[in-house]
């Protein structure tokens, strides 16, 4: 049962979020496609954690503040967000764009983090191993390239968004463009400062990721002291959908959380 959509405000920026489960708090940051539906991935995490899934500013039903122009701004916004949450340290997780935001936040300030889980994060570039160009993929290519198991692609292609949903998808695409177009899906400075991440970190990657190839996991693992890297076989980019149970189990196993 998905929890109700909540409205949340931090320093004048109104966003939407979902929150469910109980335990230590875990904040999950979504990718460029927008807030993930509350599915098997969220259910598994919510069985162990107080799971908080905010929708980024600029996406879906959230405000688009002029103050957030890039991922560095977004990361600082999320430090404000964590301050506003108060309470104990949070387990921070993020996929793709959300992983980039989480890592950028952690480079700046880890003091509020209990653990960090990054699922195929954007943010680094490996020279000679180009990322896929999702800005030029057509809808068919997008669906095909985001998943290894093509039954997920078929489902994505079969989905018929309503005009209102289409508007929200476009809004997401606009904000993703603002954040990720240039330099494409990375921050040239980030790799130089990964050693600042002083919290237990898990890197998860799909072996068959066509957006950010699995080879991208290596510099993350080398850059963050003590990071654990796990490659999930027969999986594409959207681990939280294609490998919902497996990915969530690995995060739970790494981050702990309360016993069921």
């Amino acid at each position: 049962m998905p929890p109700p959509m909540l409205s949340h405000e931090v320093r004048g920026v109104k966003t939407r979020m979902m929150r469910g489960g109980a335990g230590e708090p875990m904040v999950f940051l979504h990718g460029a496609g927008g807030m993930a539906p509350w599915g098997a991935f969220a259910e598994t995490l919510a069985s162990r954690f107080d799971l908080i899934m905010p929708e980024h500013p600029g996406f879906g039903g959230s405000d688009t503040p002029a103050s957030i122009r890039n991922v560095r701004d977004m990361a600082l916004y999320y430090l404000d967000f964590l301050d506003a949450l108060g309470g104990p340290k949070v387990h921070l997780a993020g996929t793709s764009l959300g992983g980039w935001i989480a890592a950028t936040l952690a480079v700046r300030n880890c003091t509020q983090l209990a653990s960090l889980s990054l699922l195929a994060p954007a943010g680094l570039r490996v020279k000679g191993i180009p990322s896929g160009d999702n800005f030029i993929w057509n809808p068919e290519e997008t669906a095909r390239n985001l998943f290894h198991d093509q039954t997920f692609s078929e489902a994505m292609l079969a989905a018929q968004p309503t005009p209102d949903e289409q508007d929200l998808l476009l809004k997401n695409r606009f904000m993703a463009t603002k954040l990720g177009w240039e330099p494409r899906w990375h921050d040239p400075a980030l790799g130089r400062w990964l050693h600042r991440i002083k919290v237990r970190t898990l890197i998860l990657w799909g072996a068959e990721d066509k957006l950010f190839p699995a080879a991208y996991a290596k510099p993350w693992g080398e850059g963050i002291p003590g990071a654990r890297v796990e490659i999930i076989p027969r999986a594409g980019h959207l681990l939280h959908i294609e490998k919902a149970g497996d990915a969530a189990d690995r995060i739970v196993s790494f981050a702990g959380g309360r016993q069921p």
């Binding site: 800005f135 030029i136 508007d167 476009l170 809004k171 993703a176 463009t177 603002k178 177009w181 330099p183």
Partner: protein, 379 residues
């Protein structure tokens, strides 16, 4: 009415069978399909065509900027303008336009126009555009900041042309500690600025503002859309409390004048189809990267995507019927132009008399017929 002889300089020797194996003539078309010798021949033909516009009585020669495409061989239109200055005496030369957001230093644009304006003793017209969507893929510039960068680059260039230097320009995207142009433009206060556009409402309002009153050119659109956008400009001007002059209202359109309607279509039909289907058409992911249009405009466009007929091949008959191309006998062409003039009051006609694969001989005859049979009627 003022007449501009405008050119895109397409790569005509295109192997169309190969071209159609790829999704566009832009960005992803392998450049081993380009032959330098044939390219040189294109430039020679096109420079001759544009130079002949002076003797044929045109007011303006127009060139433009596009990147990484067989659609137009002018990534640096100011180089063509410079060659034309040396070959002509009195005709104005319009660069329609430079794509302001695509550069990281708009000072270069200010400097180059100042040089050309001086070398031509004041014959330059400066078109300011944002480039088409595909160019944000070609250059890496973030389309989400396209409008911001356009406005800011415009402000910097106009200030560089008009304000005593040195001064400092403080922007969001552009920061220049010393703005101090040498040379300055020949014309006072600066070369006329024209704004070619496919009609975004933001651009219409901005161009029509009383402190600018920039001539607005609607490019390559159907009769109904040209009418709509020029009316929107006229309405915007009224909203600002003034009446737009006909010279502010422009229409950029491919034109072919034949002996009869049938002959014109037989001579130009395939060429106009190659312009729209083989040279210009791109998938929407390339044409409309997010942010290129404002979010509300883009949302409206995507809701109407089915109605736009994107992705299907356009025929010459359709292009003629909806007024996107004006092709026919002298009488037909005069009537079509008059119809648009009656509907909008436009007095600024930007004709493209070579288009697609149209060859040199037919282009020459087209230009001569246009000069002899069409222009005098509107003078």
């Amino acid at each position: 009415m003022k007449f501009t002889c405008f050119h895109l300089m397409p790569y005509r020797p295109m192997d169309m069978t190969e071209r159609r194996k790829h999704r566009a003539a832009w960005l992803v078309l392998p450049n081993d399909l380009y032959d330098p010798e044939l390219g040189a021949q294109q430039y020679e033909s096109y420079l001759d065509q544009l130079t002949s516009a002076e003797a044929l009585g045109f007011d303006v020669i127009g060139v433009n900027e596009h990147h990484q495409t067989a659609y137009g061989m002018m990534p640096a239109p100011n180089l063509i303008a410079s060659a034309l200055i040396q070959r002509t005496k009195t005709i104005k030369i319009a660069v329609l336009g430079r794509a302001l957001p695509l550069t990281n230093n708009p000072m270069y644009i200010a400097e180059e126009f100042a040089m050309l304006d001086t070398m031509s003793r004041g014959r330059m017209i400066a078109g300011f555009v944002r480039g088409i969507g595909t160019e944000y893929h070609a250059t890496g510039i973030n389309p989400a900041f396209s409008h911001e960068r356009y406005q800011e680059a415009h402000d910097l260039i106009v200030a560089a042309w008009t304000k005593p230097g040195p001064f400092e320009f403080e922007g969001e995207h552009y920061n220049v500690r010393y703005v101090n142009l040498w040379p300055k433009p020949f014309q006072k206060p600066h070369p006329p600025i024209w704004v070619p556009s496919q009609g975004s409402s933001e651009t219409v309002k901005w161009a029509a503002a009383p402190e600018r009153k920039y001539p607005f050119l609607v490019t390559f659109s159907s009769h109904e859309l040209v009418k709509k956008y020029l009316t929107a400009y006229r309405d915007a001007a009224r909203g600002y409390g003034y009446e737009a002059d006909g010279g502010q209202l422009g229409w950029a359109v491919p034109v072919y004048v034949g002996d009869t309607d049938e002959k014109a279509k037989a001579e130009a039909g395939y060429a106009i189809e190659t312009l729209f289907n083989d040279f210009l058409a791109t998938p929407w992911e390339m044409l409309l990267p997010p942010g290129y249009m404002s979010l509300p405009s883009m949302q409206a466009t995507m809701r109407n995507r089915g109605a736009l007929g994107m992705g299907k091949r356009l025929t010459a008959d359709e292009l003629i019927a909806n007024g996107t191309a004006v092709i026919g006998s002298p009488k037909t062409v005069r009537e079509q132009i008059q119809k648009m003039r009656d509907a909008t009051g436009l007095e600024n006609l930007v004709t493209m008399l070579q288009f697609g694969v149209l060859n040199d001989e037919l282009t020459k005859r087209n230009m001569e017929r246009f000069s002899a049979e069409i222009m005098p009627h509107f003078r």
